[in-house]
Amino acid sequence: MKLDSQEPSGPLEDKWNNHLQDIKLVSPNNKRKYNIIVVGTGLAGASAAASLAELGYKVKAFCIQDSGRRAHSISAQGGINAAKNYPNDGDSVWRLFYDTIKGGDYRSRESNVYRLAQNSNEIIDQAVAQGVPFAREYGGLLDNRSFGGAQVSRTFYARGQTGQQLLMGAYQAMMKEVHSGKIEYYPRHEMLDLVMIDGKARGIITRDLVKGDINKFEADAVVLCTGGYGNVFYLSTNAKNSNVTAAWRCHKRGAAFANPCYVQIHPTCIPVSGDYQSKLTLMSESLRNDGRVWVPRKKGDDRPPNEIPEDERYYYLEEKYPSFGNLVPRDVASRNAKLVTDDGMGVGETGKAVYLDFRDAIKRDGIETIRSKYGNLFDMYENIMDENPYEVPMKIFPAVHYTMGGLWVDYNLMSNVPGLFVAGEANFSDHGANRLGASALMQGLSDGYFIIPYTIGNYLADHQPGDLTTDHKAFTEAAKTSEDQLQKLLSIQGDKTIIEFHRELGKIMWDKVGISRSKEGLEEAIEQIRELREEFWTNVRVPGEMTYYNKYLEFALRVADYFELAELMAIDALDREESCGCHLRDEYQSEEGEAIRNDEDYSFVSAWEYQGINGKLKTKLHKENLEFEFVELKQRSYK
């Protein structure tokens, strides 16, 4: 396996423009000869499908939901970053780039991140032209707010529903091209395999989730936009159907999986309440603009929060990080929540929560101002917790939220498999070891609107649109493999349900591959994952049949892939003997619990090659060294 990042040379600010001038074009008449498959219709997928169809390519768009409008991008609450500098507070493309590289703890490519910052402004223009109703000032111009890890206000938002509004923009653009006939649209279809012919990605195998049958689709290129793998933890803020299967199947067909251990644990989520819990709910990071995070100074203090006097409250983020305060990056906020609760200062029934308090903001700005900013989030909280956050501080705790790792891609967002492009959360490209708030929407749309449409032409220009049909034996074989696996799962008829297995796997991952990791814990996790995986394949009970709508069969297949991915995540975390961003190894931290990076030995992207599975996962590490030409590597400090 050879990893060539294809990064253009030259000054940072000119790389992308130079690259655009150098890459090959496909003429308008020839574009219609190429078939492109886009899998996933979230921000990255819908924007890519729409933009590729507008260019004249023949596009097929697939999603697992009953409509493209339901992709999990819709749940993003807080906002999208851009370097417009409308508030005149000193922002620039460079600052957005620098904050993102620093926020990612210097584990991402300079060239990719700079391009992301450059594209950010155009995304806002595009979205506004589509009719995305961003928040506005009285004068009618766009408003901004602050997010973690930045000292400027660069976040554009649509109340607490920014993801929904941006997704509607991209989904509607996609439906416009469905109407024009350039996109064939396949909702309720799940990708089960990548079809490789002569070393290139040439199609996919899907299951029609309504009829249950296995289908084959050929293409000249495949664009994978299938999101992240946070659901490996069972409990996360991801939607219930978010899964790794499409990406994992590409990995098993040769695509390198990069930095699988980089998992973002979001600091502000609603705490777990019981065993039946099916998912965790995020409270937007924007709340940290006005909410103050604290715990009682006295361990086990069970007085109601409003009876605890000011000097007995430990505002630990404000005290430890005076310049960023409650707006430290997510990894720092999550780690500190764990530290104080591990020390016995946690609150709530389980002791696994901290307070997020709006008392002072309400006193300062009035209840109506707070309601207008966060009304829907407060309602959501009250609905779930049955407590009024205008009167009693919210209880929050970290939860798995986003995965920075994903399939390895070069500067063109093509994986090491020719013809397989990967966009959005599914790739590893831009966030290093930690993603800053309001950057996921930016990356998904940058990839889909403004990168893939150009870079895919560079690949297709050298690729003859052929007369390939799905009768080719590679399709027949791949379809049979998928069908056999489904039959196998249905035939086991063991004693334990899929959810029981998934919950057990999630517990191993949360305890040992979660907020903090240790050599000992990771080695135990690997053993436990292997044992549980073996039990899964002999003792799982999957109901029903594969010939009709069967949600639990879908889950079974996805959990089977999580069992393999989980081992790779633990192996990656074990291999990385340093702490960086969200990856905290107990052995590599300062006395105050800050991450200690090891730039000399670990300034690389870990790209893993799948080599088979037989009781143990066989995998080989390839390293892409990260060169920092324009940024000086520093120990991050938010103090």
Binding site: K84, Y86, P133, R136, P187, G274, S278, R541, Y549
Partner: protein
């Protein structure tokens, strides 16, 4: 923590051709902190373990009230008893020990049943496809602040844009009309300056598609607004009628 015994009457239907029927179930030890869908998860875990019946199929995804996948009709009311709350955000604390709960799919000719409580809502996609967008190609947009929009106009447009496309409005309407869904998308786009160039074409195309899909007409019952989980105002329908009239005369 208090627990309850809950009796369930759930619509079971193998596929679109099966006539379907209600089935009775009883669940013990339902926690008041459970969400409604988590209660159904627990029922399904029991059914899978018993192995006699297949689990109950129902649609869901985000479980935070924004994706619009879930759409159960509970005791005759779309999304259940709590005002402006999608069923995934409904908690069992809204029920009492011994309650009987009837669960059905959202019923409408334009929403054929796929299995049990899962229906086909692709008609909504086709309404959007007919014209629910601003035709702006990627890369051709002007600088964002060149389009100033008064805050109140922008806010009003936003309120309509928050529709989650769940279909509760259709389920609740005695005519199975999709006027609130269609009206909300039209109002979102038609109120904005970006939406003006295509306003007539869009309005006619979407309204025509709505009829073609077999949704009924609106006769101002207002049930749609009452069950809408995000509180879309019925004034969306008035906006739609106004724009439609302007477009056709």
């Amino acid at each position: 923590m208090s627990t309850m015994t809950i009796h369930l009457k759930i619509w079971r239907q193998k596929n679109a051709n099966d006539p379907g029927h209600f089935e009775d179930y009883t669940l013990d030890e339902v926690s008041e902190h459970m969400s409604f869908l988590e209660m159904l998860d627990v029922l399904n875990e029991n059914l899978i373990k018993e192995g006699k019946e297949e689990p109950v199929e129902f649609d869901y995804d985000c479980r935070e009230g924004i994706c619009g996948s879930c759409n159960l009709v509970i005791n005759g009311r779309a999304h259940g008893p709590k005002h402006k709350t999608a069923v995934c955000q409904l908690h069992m604390r809204n029920y009492s020990d011994g309650d009987t709960i009837v669960i059905e799919p959202p019923r409408a000719a334009a929403f054929p049943v796929i299995k049990d409580l899962v229906v086909d809502r692709s008609a909504f996609d086709r309404i959007i496809e007919a014209g629910g967008y601003v035709s702006v190609k990627t890369g051709s947009a002007p600088e964002a602040n060149l389009i100033p929009i008064a805050q109140d106009v922008s806010n009003e447009s936003f309120d309509y844009a928050t529709c989650i496309g769940c279909g509760a409005c259709v389920a609740a309407c005695p005519n199975s009309s999709a006027a609130l869904f269609t009206g909300a998308k039209l109002a979102h786009l038609n109120l904005l300056p970006q939406g003006q160039p295509e306003i007539e074409k869009r309005t006619i195309a979407m309204v025509d598609q709505m009829e073609k899909e077999g949704f009924g007409d609106c006769s101002n019952h207002g049930e749609c607004e009452a069950v809408c989980p995000v509180g879309i105002s019925i004034s969306a329908i008035a906006e739609m009628r106004k724009d439609y009239l302007k477009a056709v005369i």
